[in-house]
Amino acid sequence: MTAVQDPPVAVPVAAPDVRDDVGVGVPRGRWFAALLRGRGLVGTVFVGVVVLAGLLAPVLAPYSPLQQIPGANLLPPDAAHWLGTDEVNRDVLSRVLYGTRVDLLVLVTAVPLGAVTGSLVGLLSSLSTASDVVAQRVFDILLAFPVLILGIALAAVAGPGLTTVILVIALAEIPIYGRLLRGAALRVREMPYVEAATVVGAGRWWVLRRHVLPNAIEPVGVQVTVSLAVAVFVEGAMSFIGIGIRPPDPSLGSIIADSVTALDANPGLALGPLAVVTALVLGFLLMAQALAAGRRT
């Protein structure tokens, strides 16, 4: 079975599905080009627009996200409030823009944290059988908790908030990258060129550094885009059920949660954040698909 597409929820498939063309790779230049064509381009554009909006939130937002405008309760979209107002008289558009900004912060901290930690653990654990067994068990335990359940557990201990969200995402990513890198390491070590090097005297570090790492980077690239999609989902879901970003700070998930009871009064309250979340998740997944397909040619 080839390409593993990770759903924006819970646990993506574990290591056996590490691409069987690891170590028999593809020239690097072509790889990024996949993002500029077809599906990849669509995805990149979606993500790009949202990222821009988030980064420029202080410039683009007409109001402060916390500002309560007297008399503007659950107004439907109009000229003054493009997405209307919410149940405590705040401008939805501004809240969505700032919520996006926070999302970006989460993405930029949590995903690299999980990816780098997981990758290191995966690579290093592959060096000896003992560490390998221990690492695998730890991964199993982490993977036994569906992401949202893990979020609930951590929030119960550490309380809700931005750091909890980041921690949950990072912890959920660690076993994925760990397995990915470990699988890649094992595959590459079986290759004849590694055997040939070992026979001539290469040690484990040499093999890791010169052969495993370069060959394992590519599947990591694809996985990162998927992880970004998952991260958006997790932040949204956690904020949705109230264990994510704490009010009154804006977050896409909590805005959606608030909108459920006000759908007939102001659909803009729901549609705004829904559009952003969808664009981000869809965008990242399209990018992941394009990258994965690009590797195969």
Partner: protein, 526 residues
């Protein structure tokens, strides 16, 4: 028309950018065996596939392929399905993968029979058992319930042949039917095909690159080169008086066993053994309840400086394991491995690393022998870098030594052919001027004509550089050519050890005799 089972006129098959078959005319008469010979890339497989309309999606075919009166080129799927298996049937190269692993043999035969019109379960079972018996599988009724993984390689191929025969075709398209099998099994399958031709009057289009197989089975031979027919003759004529240079080259490149006489030993004994195996056993521990696998048992042999010891055996004989144990890739469960007099097991990690400077390994599979991310130059320089030696002009020198242009240093493996990659692997192996090279089937994955070149090169380099070599192969002809001494392995045990002349002309064991018998003999030119 009627005398011809198959008539091909001006067939052209092309892929985007490549013309695989460039205008071929061919006819196969009832009951005759026509061999379609050529190297990989000659287009022979595409011709066979086009007979049943089984070309890959990206291929386009023009011309005429007439099978039992029906035009195949351009026919619809339904028409083709009616032809497939009933007028002509294919036998594929890899029995390991040609059968569905999760369905029983009986089920797969029943599916085939169903496609040929036999719907009733009982009738299908009867016929299936008959077919298995026809192809020489013992206890056919019992085997119907077996899954493919429970059969041996040879038996799997027999099942594939049975499937092909299920529709009672007039023509068998055999695409390298014995290449993936062990030598002894090859002989059996060839005998089966000959028997079927005699008994059933089935015509065979035999696609192969193995001239020995051609000599044994074919009536007529058609030689293909780059998608065009180069020569077509009756088989005896072709071997006696080849008309073109290309055919001559093909014939000359078949490694043959020296007939008669005991050739003089090629090396003198000088000094201490480079490699010594003393009563070595390797046991792979059982996993998940499976029993332990005894791969090698009590093998003793030595490789003297500058000597080539050929290690011969079929798959499963343990020869690869011996090679890996010799360099410490696999731990030994008993016995000693000595490299240059020093016991491998007693060395510390640093000592082992130093000792490995004098070692090198060349693998079978040129596709994976080089890291695709490294340039050719980087691959060759790797041993030097591992030991911190200066690279300087070594890479260029080595490339020249393996007769590749120096400019290749900047290329990547993906840009080279199989034979070229194997040369690079050889260059890498010689980078540190090793005293011992383990060559594990280094030419088995190469075409016959390329094999000859690589073996020549290997011989030359050995004479120049004087390294010892453990040359592992299942091909007796190849071993005969390069080895000073030969060791025969079976099921992990060493049966014979001596010079090629001794072992091949006067073997001590019946098994060795059987191995020799199984080598297809190419008639020597008159």
């Amino acid at each position: 028309m009627s005398a011809n089972v198959l008539t091909i006129r001006d067939l052209r098959v092309s892929f985007p950018g490549i013309a695989a078959v460039a205008g071929v005319d061919l006819a196969v008469r009832r009951g005759e065996v026509v061999a379609l010979v050529g190297e990989s890339g000659s287009g022979k497989t595409m011709i066979a596939r086009s007979v049943l309309g089984l070309l890959p999606e990206s291929a386009t075919a023009t011309g005429s392929v007439e099978l039992a009166g029906t035009e195949v080129v351009g026919a619809g799927e339904a028409e083709l399905d009616a032809l497939r298996g009933t007028r002509a049937a294919m036998v594929f190269q890899e029995p390991q993968t040609a059968l569905n692993p999760v369905r029983t043999v009986g089920w797969q035969l029943a599916e085939a029979l169903r496609a040929h019109g036999v719907r009733s379960r009982r009738a299908a079972r009867e016929r299936a058992a008959e077919l298995l018996e026809l192809v020489g599988i013992p206890e056919p009724r019992r085997r119907l319930r077996y899954y493919p993984h429970q059969l041996s390689g040879g038996q799997k191929q027999r099942v594939v042949i049975a499937l092909a025969l299920s529709g009672e075709p007039d023509l068998l398209l055999a695409d390298e039917p014995t290449t993936a099998l062990d030598v002894t099994v090859q002989a059996q399958i060839l005998a089966l095909l000959a028997d079927l031709r005699d008994r059933l009057g089935v015509a065979v289009l035999l696609v192969t690159h193995n001239m020995g197989v051609v000599a044994e089975l074919a009536d007529r031979v058609v030689v293909l080169h780059h998608g065009r027919i180069v020569e077509r003759r009756a088989v005896s004529e072709l071997f006696a008086r080849p008309a073109t240079d290309y055919t001559r080259d093909l014939l000359a490149s078949v490694p043959r066993l020296a007939e008669g006489g005991v050739p003089a030993p090629r090396r003198e004994d000088t000094g201490e053994a480079v490699l010594e195996l003393a009563e070595v056993s390797v046991v792979y521990p059982g996993k998940r309840g499976r029993p332990a696998l005894r791969a090698v048992h009590g093998v003793s042999l030595a490789v003297r400086p500058g000597e080539v010891v050929g290690l011969v055996g079929e798959s499963g004989s343990g020869k690869t394991t011996v090679g890996r144990a010799a360099v410490g890739l696999v731990p030994v469960s008993a016995g000693r491995v000595r490299l240059g007099g020093r016991d491998l097991a007693a060395l510390s990690r640093a000592e082992l690393r130093a000792a490995r400077r004098g070692l090198a390994m060349v693998h079978q599979d040129p596709a994976a022998a080089l890291d695709p991310r490294f340039t050719v130059g980087e691959s060759i320089a790797e041993p030097l870098l591992i030991h911190g030696a200066a690279v300087g002009t070594r890479v260029a020198d080595l490339l020249t030594a393996v007769r590749l242009p120096e400019a290749y240093a900047d290329r990547r493996p993906g840009e080279l052919s199989g034979g070229q990659r194997q040369r690079v692997a050889l260059a890498r192996a010689l980078a540190l001027a090793p005293r011992l090279v383990i060559a594990d089937e280094p030419t088995s994955a190469l075409d016959v004509s390329v094999q000859a070149d690589v073996l020549d090169l290997f011989d030359e380099l050995r004479r120049e550089l004087g390294f010892g070599c453990l040359f592992i192969s299942h091909d007796l002809g190849v071993v005969d050519r390069v080895a000073d001494r030969v060791a025969v392995l079976r099921d992990g045990e060493l049966l014979e050890l001596g010079s090629p002349g001794e072992v091949f002309t006067a073997p001590r064991h019946d098994y060795t005799r059987a191995l020799l018998e199984a080598v297809p003999r190419v008639p020597v030119r008159a």
